[in-house]
Each structure stands twice: as C-alpha cells, then as structure tokens.
Amino acid sequence: MALLNKIHRAGLALLLAAGFLSPAYGQDNVRLVEQEIKAGLLYNFLKYTQWPAEHPNRGVVVCLIGGDPFGGHLQPMAGRTVNQHSIEIRNLQNLQDIDACSLLYIHENQKPNWPHLQKALAGKDVLTVSDFDGFAESGGMIEFTRNDNRIGVKINVDAVAAAHLAVQSRLLRLASTVHTAATD
C-alpha cells in the first residue's frame, strides 16, 4: 500500500515536472471557450443518437443555417468519423436540401424564421439544435443553455421521438428533458 502510494506520488511528480498535468488528464475539469464546448457536444450528439435505419449509407451531414457561430471551432470536426461515417459540414442555402442533413444547427438569428423551418422539417429525421431561448419548448430537439460557467442542454423528448430518432440515455441523463409546450 505504502509502496503504491509512493509510486503514485512519483508518477504525479513526473507528470507535473513534464508539464503534463493539464486538466484533461488530471481530475480538474476542462476549461474551453464556449464554442469549443458546443462543437464537442455536437459531435457527441451525433455519436449518441440513432437515426432510423432507412438511410444506412447517407453519411453524417451537419448543416448550419443562418451562419456559423462557432468561430472556426466546428470546422475541425469535418472529416472525423462517427460510428464509421465521415462527417461533412454544410452551410444550408436552400431549405430543399434539408433532406441530406443528419443534424441541423439553427443560428440564433433564425429565431423569427423558426416556425417556417419547423414546417419544412416536419416528418424528417433531422436532429435540430439551437441556442435560442425557448427553442426546445417550441418543438426544437436540443437547446444549448448556459448555467453560469457551464454549458447545458435541454432535450425535447417529444420532438426527438416524433422524428423517429433515439437519443441514448447517456445523453438524456446529462440533459434536462422537456416536452413541447402546449400552444394556446
């Protein structure tokens, strides 16, 4: 026991001396800029969501509508693979191309356009993600939230189910789940 302790401590010392004890390796939490965290989470949404089996060879396409708010932090995701599919990132110009998207990231500036987008998305198995307040309650699937210094997500389980998508419980446990608010 004492020996183990010694080895452990020597190891830590070595890591420290080598400047290796960055938070990613230590028990400290990671510090990233907001867009990096969100980009990382988008990647995890792709990883932990199952799409219906109809389009097995579609590939994974992340579409952006309204612009790219990630400040260059999303682009490194292009070309990475998730579940053996290569990720492609597209700026969506035309709503008719929405069929090709696995995930649609809706820029905050599209908020006024959201009811219109919802119509175009009806019945399509596209995972929708946005930042704007009230997105999930109004029928969006995943809404980023900011709680003090941390990023969180709201997942609208009704909207996810209606699109025949399945978000794995690992993500749902970490999110706050909401339902579509009743419209009067």
Partner: protein
C-alpha cells in the same frame, strides 16, 4: 454564482489570480473538444476572453462574487446599493448620491482602506484615498460581475487594498450584441434611461456604445426638511473587444465620458457670530477615461498582459475644487510552470497630476502636485503535494512620493480535498499610504463659539508632511465546503493588527489678532493602534432549477487604542461607525418562464458613534417577460420602513434619512 473567473484586467482578479495562481492549462491549445466525453464537456468551464477561469472555491482568499444576474435581481439601481448583498462589507447611504462603504470596518464617508477598480482602472481618488461613489455609475446592464475580496494582499497593485478590493468587471462586447433600451422611473430614481447598441466587425471583433442618464430625487434631513441633494448624471462610452481566431491575442479598448450635478447641506464655519451657517452646497463633477489592453497566451501555459489607461477627473463644490489627470501603464508576465513552481511577475508605473483651487475651507501651500508611483510584484505558487497542499508566497514593492519605499508580502497556505472542500490560511502585511489630505491640506474645520473661552476657537487641520503609512498585519483563515450537491458553505475569519493609524492630534493653540480668536491646530499623526477580528459566513442553497436561497452573516469587532481626548480628537471613534452584526437572506424564484420574484431581507446593527439604530430592510422585485424582447419589473426597496438613518454624526447638518422607494422598469432587448 460560486464559480469564479479571473479578471480580464490586471488590477483586480488577474491580480488575485496571481495570488491563487492556478496552473491553468492552455486548454485551447492542448485539449481536443472532440475527444472529450459528454460528461467532461458538461463539466467543462467556459473560459472568459482572458482564457483563464477558476473555481471560486479554489481561491485561497475571502472572495465573494455578485454576478450580473445577482445585481439585476437585487433591484439595486446603483453599484453601492448592489454591494449591500456582499458579506463583510459595510454599506451605508449618506444621502441621495453618497455612500460610506468599507470592508471589515473603519467605515467612513471617506473610507480609505479599500481599493475599488472598474475593469482594472483604480477609481479611488488619491486626494483622500477614498471613492466618490456618485460618479461610479456604470450602467448595471453592462456589468458582468463584481468581485469583492476581503482582506489584504489579494491585489498586486495598490497600497490602498488594506481591508479589501472591489473589482467591477464589465461585459465583453461580444456578450452585449444587439440593442438594449431600459427606462426606470420611481419615487427615488425619478428617471434612469440606458441605451446600448452592440455590433461586430468580423474576425472576432465586437463593439458596443452606450449612454445613460439618471435623475434622482433629493432626500430629507432627519428633521424632515429637503436635504438639497437631488442628483443627476449622464455618461456615454464604448468598448471594443478583438479576439482574432486561432491566435492567443486579445485586445480590448474602452472609454467613457461623464458628468454629474448634485448638492448637499454644508455647515460653513465663521469667526464671528453666529460662528456657522448652513449653505446649500452644489456639487458638479465630470471626467473621461480611455483604457487599452493587450494580452497574449503563449503556448507553454504562459501569458503576458500589457495595459494602459488615461483618466481625467474634475470635481467642484463649495469646499473643494480639484482636477486630476492620471496615466497608468502596467504589465504582467506569467511564466511557464517550472517544476512544482509557477511564477508571476509584474510592474506598474503611474503618473498623476492634481490641480487644486483654494476654497474658503481648504487651502494649501502648493496647488499643483505631480506624483509618480512605481510598483512591482513577484509571486510564486508552489505545489507541495499535487491536488492537496499549495503554498503561495508573494510580495508587492512600491515607491511612492508620500511614504517612499513600501514592501507588502503575503504568504498563503491552501489545502484541497477534491471538489468537496478547501481550507486556507494566510498572513499578509499591507499599508495605506498617506494622501494629500493628510500631508498637504489645511482645512478650516469648524469654530467653537465663545463659552469655553471668551474668544471663538477656530479648529484647523494642518498639513502633516511627516504623517506616515498606516500598517496592518492580517491573519486570515477560510474554509469552503460543498455540503450537498446543491448546498455550498463558505466561512472566513480574520484577525487584523493595525499600527500607526491616522490620529487627529491637538497641537499648541495660537492667538490670532484680526479678528481676535484662538486657533486650535490639529495635526495628523500615527498614534493609534487597533485590533479587529470577525468572520463572515455564506450559505447558498439551490433548492431546484427555479429557486435559489442565499444567506450571509458578518460579525465585526473593533478595538482601537488611541491617545485620550486631551491629546487627540475622537481617536477611537471608528469603533462605533461600523455595525457589529449584519446579515441578509435572499431568494431568487423563477415562478415560470415569464415571471420571477426575488426578495431580500437585510439586518444592520446600530452604529453607537452616531444616532443610527439597528434597522431591517426588505426589498422585493417582480419581473415579467412580456414578450421575448420586453421585460417589465416592479421593485420596492426598504418596504418595511418609512425612513431610517444609516450614517452621520448628530452634528452633521448634511445627514439625511433613507425612505421607502418604488420603481418600475421597462427593458427592451433585441
């Protein structure tokens, strides 16, 4: 709320960060966000622009952070009022636009043991080492957070940070994009209008411009007369933040111009009967400042920051006419970790020119004074055992034109137990350097009518060029614990040992022939000692996502030991000017998506030196989001009480009482 990020600016948090000096990883360079698990990403801390962030519980100092949301939900319409929430602070409103604010005692309208910074720019006036709170009227909507550090040694700069530092940090321009207009109206604040617009220029560059106008009603004297203290001020300013992608550089430029007008009641001494009269004094003040900053992250977990500001202030009232220009240049370098050690060094140069105009009350030998300040610091954070024991040793060194060379060392020891708990202890030496008030000014303070002697006695504060720095050795202890996932506890205690405190010593009386009177001269000496101790406790309970409770309690005991009354004036009076017990409890409740209700209850103990009794205060705020862009708030302050007095001697003709106030506010954001 319990998360604490380091400041983007040198003077304040970055300063504290130097003391805490976490080994912040150059995360952006080494961590691949796509390689992290969802758990790690949700647990990741969002970095500020300075790319440094830190848990509040990691800071080995008594730190309290008021977030922008806390400020909005407090219902406060000024920075001083928002500070009532902070444990260990004494906040007393003296009139419509004046506050006496101090940390851990020695409160006074000219409280001088506190450093106040706005985005790293020192806002206390070196003339008397105090703060004109009336002019610190930054739009509250633009404030990111206010960090208050009790105790000395927490700042790298400033010999004034004896009892603590208040660091006001405004939002990054990227966080204030779009439009904001807010209009407030009530019985105390007749009108506050704020307008802001923020845009971007691409390539990570953002800007905002803003303007604010405020008009506040006068208060009443304890006898019920108008206190002649109606106040109005205006300001306009901008901020630009440029964070070019993929580079480690960040640039910030901000500036502001402002002006204000108000007044008070002032007793003016006369050498002939009736020996004093009360006048309606008018006060006008204005200023401008421009502040630039450049910070670069180097790949090896090191960084440097350079910044500079120019600050112009002008104040004119019956008793005082003063114009000041200040140039400040600062730099800081955080070295790469070297073994177990992390070193930070920095330096500062400041040049300030002050032009005083003589008034019937204040005279001096030399009206214009230029001063230079050179300051440096070095600090080493040594990890004794990783994630368990850390010791931080540091010292400030400065040379100023009043007291010469000063050394202010600090030693801090920190014990960590994962995320669950943390304990710290520190010993620091700090000084409050002399100001023009003590060394240069001749103040005609009052006249004692014939009676004691057959002649009138003029009391005159004389310049005391030999007045030296006040000294403090502070011993502090702190403990923080996560009692449950939703409950945090933060305790801190202190024992402060002061020496050479300013004392108003009686000098030999003089006879003056025309008009025939006696002058009782007073000199400022360093003959008072003091021992103070106390503690502050904070509990925060996040009952659920929609309901948060927070409670603070502060205890303060002051024991001064100064010369008796035949040698000095009220040398121990400071004992009775700060409340012994203070507490507040507040709740923040989101009833639904559209409606929130916030309440706060305060208790402030009596001030035995003044006719100020203990008082309770209840504030409540209801906010409705009418649409996604429009919010309406209704706020009541001091609801339980018709009026009460918060500060001031019984003989103070300018003393006022603080009454009940209500206001409504409409805020439009788009």
């Amino acid at each position: 709320m319990l998360r604490w990020r380091k400041n983007a600016f040198l003077g304040g948090t970055a300063a504290l960060c130097a003391i805490c000096a976490v080994s912040v990883a150059s995360a952006a360079d080494t961590v691949d966000p796509f390689a992290l698990s969802p758990e790690q990403l949700f647990d990741a801390t969002v970095m500020s622009v300075s790319k440094t962030s830190e848990d509040l519980r990691d800071a080995p100092a008594a730190v309290y952070v008021l977030t922008g949301e806390d400020i909005a939900r407090s219902g406060a319409t000024s920075i001083p009022e928002a500070l009532r929430l902070v444990p260990g602070l004494q906040v007393a409103r003296t009139n419509a636009s004046g506050w006496a604010i101090s940390v851990r005692g020695f409160n006074n309208a000219l409280a001088n043991k506190l450093l106040v910074l706005i985005d790293g720019r020192e806002v206390y006036d070196p003339l008397f080492s105090g703060v004109y709170w009336d002019m610190q009227d930054t739009p509250l909507e633009d404030i990111e957070r206010i960090e208050v550090i009790r105790g000395p040694g927490a700042s790298l700069w400033g010999a004034n940070a004896v009892n603590g530092v208040i660091n006001i940090i405004t939002k990054n321009a990227a966080d204030t994009q779009g439009s904001l207009v807010s209009v407030t109206s009530g019985n105390d604040d007749h009108a506050i209008v704020t307008a802001r617009y923020g845009g971007s220029m691409g390539d990570g560059a953002h800007w905002r411009v803003y303007g604010k106008y405020l008009a506040r009603a006068s208060t009443q004297t304890p006898a019920g007369a108008d206190a002649n203290d109606a106040w109005s001020d205006w300001r306009g300013g901008f901020r630009m933040d440029w964070d070019p992608n993929a580079q480690g550089d960040t640039f910030t430029l901000l500036g502001e111009v402002y002006g204000g007008n108000g007044g008070d009641l002032r007793s003016v001494p006369l050498l002939t009967a009736p020996y004093a009269y009360t006048t309606d004094e008018s006060v006008s003040a204005s200023g401008a400042n421009l502040h630039g900053r450049w910070s670069r992250e180097l790949g090896d977990d090191s960084r440097f920051t350079l910044e500079s500001y120019v600050d112009l202030t002008r104040r004119s009232q019956f008793t005082l006419k003063d114009e000041r220009s200040t140039l400040d240049v600062e730099g800081q370098y955080e070295l790469p970790a070297w073994g177990w050690q992390k070193l930070i060094v920095g330096g500062l140069y400041r040049y300030t020119v002050d032009a005083l105009t003589a008034t019937p009350i204040i005279t001096f030998a030399k009206g214009t004074r230029a001063d230079q300040l050179i300051s440096g610091f070095v600090q080493d954070k040594i990890t004794l055992e990783a994630d368990r024991w850390i010791v931080t040793l540091g010292s400030k060194f400065e040379h100023n034109d009043y007291s010469g060379f000063e050394v202010q060392p600090t030693a801090r020891l920190q014990w960590l137990d994962g995320k669950e708990q943390m304990a710290w202890a520190s010993i620091s030496r700090a000084v409050r350097t002399p100001s023009q008030l003590e060394q240069d000014l001749d103040i005609f303070s009052g006249v004692i009518p014939p009676g004691v002697l057959p002649l009138p006695i003029a009391v005159e504060l004389r310049p005391s060029p030999n007045f030296d720095s006040e000294e403090l050795i502070a011993y502090e202890l702190g403990y923080r614990r996560q009692l449950a996932p939703e409950v945090q506890l933060d305790l801190s205690g202190f024992y402060n040992d002061y020496d050479k405190l300013a004392t108003l010593s009686l000098l030999t009386p003089e006879i003056v022939l025309s008009p025939f009177h006696v002058v009782l001269p007073i000199g400022t000496t360093n003959l008072t000692k003091a021992k103070t101790y106390g503690f502050e406790a904070v509990v925060n309970w996040r009952a659920d996502d929609h309901l948060n409770f927070s409670a603070t309690y502060s205890y303060l005991h002051m024991n001064l030991d100064g010369p008796p009354s035949d040698l000095a004036i009220a040398s121990e009076a400071a004992e009775g000017r700060s409340p012994r017990h203070q507490f507040n409890v507040r709740s923040q409740w989101d009833i639904n998506d559209r409606l929130s209700l916030d309440t706060a209850v305060y208790y402030v103990d009596a001030l035995p030196a003044f006719p100020v009794s203990a008082y309770w205060r209840l504030d409540a705020r209801a906010a409705w989001r009418l649409t996604d862009d429009l919010q309406f708030e209704l706020v009541g302050q001091n609801i339980l009480d018709d009026s009460h007095r918060e500060f001031g001697a019984s003989t103070d003709v300018g003393a006022t009482v603080i009454g009940r106030s209500f206001y409504g506010r409409l805020t439009w954001r788009s």
